[in-house]
Each structure stands twice: as C-alpha cells, then as structure tokens.
C-alpha cells in the first residue's frame, strides 16, 4: 500500500490500513508484506463482490423505478421470513446459480468453455489493483499504473471471444466477432481520452494523478480534471468508451438480447453464467473507478469543508454516482448497430480524442496565463473542444434527423 505517512492521517482515514496492520502485526516482518497483500486482495474481493450483489439489486430496482414499478421487493430473509425491500434477492439468485446444473454443449471446447469465465473474472479483478480507493488505500503503487490498468482491462474482451468461440453456437460466434470489433474500436478512444490527463499530470501513477486534483480554486471550486475543457471532453469520451468496453447499453452488442439471444452467454448456465455476470459488473466498477480517479478527483472531497469525511467515502460516493449513470443510460437508450458502433469510434471519438490532446497541450502551455488571459485560455480551449464536436457530430449524423410528414 501507499507509502503515506500513516500517522499523520485522522483515525477514520487510517482505519482500514490500521485494521489490516493489526491483523498481521503478529507475523514476522518478512512475512508481513505477503499477508498484507493477501488481506488486501481478500478485502477488495469481498467489498466488490458485495457491491456486485447490491449493484444487481440496485440495477433491477432503478430499472423498476424508471419503469414505474418497485422492482424486486418480496424475497424474504431466509429462515426469518421478513421482507426487507428485496435485499435478500441477490442472495437467493446466488444460491440458485450455485446449485444450478452446469451444461457444456456437446461439441463445445470444454477447456475454453470453462476457462472463459474464469479468465474474464481474473482479468477484471486484476484491474482493481491500481485504483486508489482512498488517501491511504492503494493496493499496488505502480509507476505505470494507468498503462497496467488498460492492459489488464483489454484482456477481458479476449475472454468474451473465448466464450463465444468455445460455445459452438452461431449466436455466440457472432457475439465473439462483435466483441472483437468492439474491443479494437474502443480501446483506442479509451486510451486516447486519458492521454491528456497523463500529459497534464506528467505521471502514469494513479495516486499522483489524484493528488494533483486536490486543490480548490478560491477554496471552493475543486480543480478536478473534469472541470477543464479538455478534461470535460476527455471524460465524456472516456465514459462513452467505458460503456462500450464494459459491454453496457447502448453498446451491449455482444450480448444483444433482441438479436443474438444472449450472445456469448447463450450456452452458459449456472455458476459460469454468474461469473460472467460478476465480471461484467466488476469491469463496470473498475472503469468507473478509473474514471473517478482520472477525471473526478479520485478520493478528493468536492470542497475542503467536507474533507472530514474519509477519502474512501468520497471515492465510493463518486463511484456509485457513476455507476448510477451507467444504469440510467441502460434504462433509456436503444442499442447501436455494429457498423454504427465502429463508426462512432473511428470517425467521432478518435478524432475528438486526438483534438483533445492538442487542447490539453495548449492547456499545459498556457498554464501561466492569468487575468484576462485566463479567460482567453478558457475560450480557446473551449472552442477547441466544442468546435470539433459540432463539426464531427454533424458529419456523424448526416442524413439523420427529425422529419416532417405530409398528410393525404
């Protein structure tokens, strides 16, 4: 974990680390790091597995509320029979999934069919290692943390391809091809969208990036990257690409229910299916976490007055807010088509991200401008962001638009 001067922090802030240290303090020094790492892994896994369970429920509830209905609310607690607004629902689903028969289709590649969900989950867990969850909570301090994150994250699509290929099902195969196309298309804008952050921060270390966002303009306005023109654009590009990377609506093409039954999941049952589901949510969490880290100030409080709330609290709040947006979007949008998906990536997001790189460069260059020049700086950067957006947006939606109709 990070090398913060732990004692300088308030108790609440230190609490998770202190607990861990208390647990391992009896071990000899040479063993302690291993135990610490294992404990961190377990802690992360437990936290995110619980979050996954709650997120599935939250998603069903939010979808329900958007659709004017309550969502799951009847499953009583086991043995007690008390209804708790459906809190027990994920547990019931989990028990059922665990005990469900596991079917491997005849003619499927048994090894790959088994490996795919495992690999997917493994890769998505790997990405959790470099996200700073709090001031003192960074599992692995890596110099090239951002690079590591995207390298591990990209491998998940490979697992989807494995699943699609191994299932020996035509729908799964189509899904596999879609997943690959999607991977290739969206890895680029995803990476390009964070280059400006790296450029401005001058570091690939996530903790460093978060630290740098910890200042306040006039003591009120947080200096998060999203509140700059390039950061805003970068965040939007990142978010769209993250939606695509985590196969969420409107980019859930591999799983496209109305077209490909369940896509790469068509032949998965029982616990393997649950693993896929889990990995999807883990991926979503990881990407949201990275988005929070890079653009939304990580664990920093929005105003200094609220800094007494522990940093991991802020991180969690921002993470949940982003996840809510994921679900909100899922509740609203139709799905894109595969060619439109790739076109959106190559003809819109990638050029925008490239231009955004220049905007960021300009931002860095003009960092000394003050007074009226500061205004000019915003104006120029804003134009650099908005102009290409309008031009490219118009080109992208050429020929599309509302129509007027005649009457006989």
């Amino acid at each position: 974990m990070s090398a913060h001067p732990a004692n300088a922090l308030p108790l609440l802030e230190r609490l998770p680390v202190a607990l861990r240290d208390a647990c391992t303090s009896w071990l000899p020094e040479s063993w302690r790091w291993l135990a610490n790492s294992l404990l961190s892994i377990v802690a992360i896994f437990v936290v995110f597995a619980t979050l996954f369970a709650l997120l599935t429920l939250a998603e069903r509830k939010i979808l329900g509320r958007v659709q004017n209905r309550p969502g799951p609310n009847r499953a009583p607690l086991p043995f007690l029979g008390i209804r708790t607004y459906g809190l027990a629902q994920p547990l019931a689903d989990g028990i059922k999934m665990l005990t469900k028969e596991d079917i491997v289709p005849r003619g499927a590649d048994r090894v790959l069919h088994f490996l795919a969900p495992v690999a997917l989950l493994a890769f998505s867990i790997l990405t959790f290692a470099v996200i700073p969850y709090g001031r003192a909570l960074l599992p692995v301090e890596l110099d090239a943390a951002v690079l590591y994150f995207f390298a591990a994250g990209a491998a998940t699509e490979l697992a989807i391809f494995m699943a699609g290929w191994a299932s020996r099902n035509k729908y799964s195969l189509l899904a596999a091809m879609r997943a690959l196309a999607q991977l290739i298309s969206y890895e680029l804008p995803l990476l390009l969208s964070i280059v400006p952050v790296v450029l401005v921060a001058g570091s690939l270390s996530t903790s460093e990036i978060v630290e740098q966002q910890g200042t306040w303009l006039f003591g009120v306005f947080p200096q998060w990257h999203v509140f700059t023109p390039w950061g805003f654009a970068g965040f939007l590009i990142f978010f769209v690409a993250a939606l695509a990377e985590s196969n969420r609506s409107p980019f859930d093409l591999p799983e496209a229910e109305s077209e490909l039954i369940a896509g790469h999941l068509t032949e998965y049952s029982g616990f393997k299916y649950a693993l896929f589901f889990m990995a999807e949510y883990f991926g979503m969490c990881a990407l949201s976490g990275m988005g929070v880290t890079l653009f939304l100030g990580g664990w920093q409080a929005p105003i200094p007055a609220l800094a007494f709330i522990p940093s991991y609290g802020w991180f969690a709040a921002k993470l949940l807010a982003l996840l809510f947006v994921f679900m909100w979007i899922r509740a609203t949008f139709p799905r894109l088509r595969i060619d439109q998906l790739t076109r959106l990536a190559w003809k819109f997001l990638v050029p925008l991200a490239l231009v955004n790189l220049f905007t960021a460069a300009f931002w860095v260059l003009s960092s000394g401008w003050a007074g009226p020049l500061a205004f000019a700086r915003w104006l120029v950067a804003g134009t650099l962001v908005l102009g290409p957006f309008l031009v490219l947006g118009r080109r992208l939606s050429a020929g599309l638009g509302p129509r007027t109709y005649r009457y006989a």
Partner: protein
C-alpha cells in the same frame, strides 16, 4: 446538436424515476396478492350455475338441462346429461353438468344463449392447480353457486335478472289463473336485461357513477326492445 435527443430521453427517464416516489401516475404497480385491482362488474372468467336456495344447491339449480349452451359453446367444453326418473321421463334438471375450464375460453356465449338465466359468468381467477384432470374439470357441485353470490359479483345485472324472473313468474301465475295459453315458451324469450349498466363504471371512474339507464337490452341472442316484452 448531436446528443440533444439523448439528453431529452434521459430527462424523461429521470422524471419517471423521481416521479415513482411521489406521483401515483408514475408508480402504477398493484402489489398482488396484498393489493388487488377492483374487478369491474362486467368481468367474466368461467361460468357458474345459479341456484336459488343455498340450502339445496343442487336441487334448486335454474338449469333445466336444455343443452342449448352445450350446443352453442364454441370450444365445446360443456357436457350435460339430463336427469331422468325411472320411467325415463325427463326431470328438467341436469344429472351431469361438467365444464372443462382447461378448455373454456370465457366467451360468455353460454350466458347469452341461456333462456333461463341459469348460467352466469364467475369472476374467480385464482384457480391455478397442480391437478390437471381433477382440478380443472368442474362438476355440477363445483359450479353451483347461490344467487346471492351472483348478486355479489354482478349486482346490477343480477338485479335485472331477478326483476325479469319475478315478472315472468307473476305473468305465469296470471296466465295460470286466467287459464290462458301455456306461457312458459313465451316466457323463455323474455329478455335478460343482461350486462349491467353501471357495471362498467365501478372500476374505472372515480367520478360518481351515473345512474343506470332504465334498462340496457343487449343480449344479441335475444335482442329485446327496451320496453318489456309485449306479453308481459
């Protein structure tokens, strides 16, 4: 601008999300089984047989086993055997009245064609069962329900039926007294002022229900005019 339509859509869903917590129009769930939608009076689900005396549910069935409904039933789910005495004389009541609700489509044609107001539509729908053959073939005993029950589920319609029957009885009595031509045949055509007028209001209109029209003749099998039959 690209994205404005998307934002508009998000606004609508957000409005519904928030509205589901305070706006009854945006939270429309009836939490069955704790809450139930009030069934409109006209609601129909499977027929039943009306009997007049709860003390003798099978003896006072209005059904005379004329088998008209059996013949007219589109999916052919009614089976009637008339009861006969030792000499083979028809007793004008059903010995067997079986109704297969695994086939019945609740089309109400049996009710429309019945000249004796003997078969009416029930409103029971919680009849899911594990027993395919035992649970879904209803016999005369299962089908027989009291007139009071009929009044309970279709009050307006039942009142009309009762009035018509009383009228018919009075007329029969009068006819008998006058030793006039045998009435029953003509009486059979007396209209059921069937499906009730206020029946439709109860479930849908929070506004005070309008007074029922004097009579609403609408049994197409027997399109009686609005005024009572001439021989009444």
């Amino acid at each position: 601008m690209l994205g404005s339509g998307l934002l508009q859509g998000l606004a609508v869903t957000a409005k519904n999300l928030a509205g589901s917590f305070h706006d009854p129009a945006r939270y429309v769930t009836t939490e069955y089984p704790e809450q139930r939608t009030k069934l409109p009076e006209n609601y129909r689900n499977f027929p039943f047989l009306v009997h007049d005396d709860p003390a003798d549910p099978n003896g006072t069935l209005r059904c005379v086993a004329c088998q008209i409904c059996e013949k007219e039933c589109p999916p052919q789910c009614i089976y009637i055997v008339m009861e006969r005495d030792e000499k083979g004389k028809a007793l004008r009541r059903p010995k067997v009245f079986d109704l297969d609700i695994s086939v019945c489509i609740s089309c109400q044609i049996c009710v429309e064609v019945c000249p004796f107001d003997a078969i009416k539509m029930d409103q029971e729908y919680e009849i899911a069962t594990r027993n395919r053959f035992g649970g879904l073939l209803l016999h005369r005993e299962d089908l027989s329900k009291s007139n009071a029950y009929y009044h309970q589920i279709h009050p307006t319609e039942a009142a009309g039926v009762d009035a018509a029957l009383a009228e018919q009885k009075a007329k029969q009595a009068a006819a008998k007294a006058a030793k006039a031509a045998p009435a029953p045949k003509a009486a059979a055509t007396t209209a059921t002022p069937a499906t009730a007028a206020t029946a439709q209001d109860s479930a849908i209109s929070p506004a005070p229900a309008a007074p029922p029209p004097a009579s609403a003749p609408d049994t197409p099998a027997n399109p009686a005019p609005a005024n009572p039959p001439p021989d009444a």
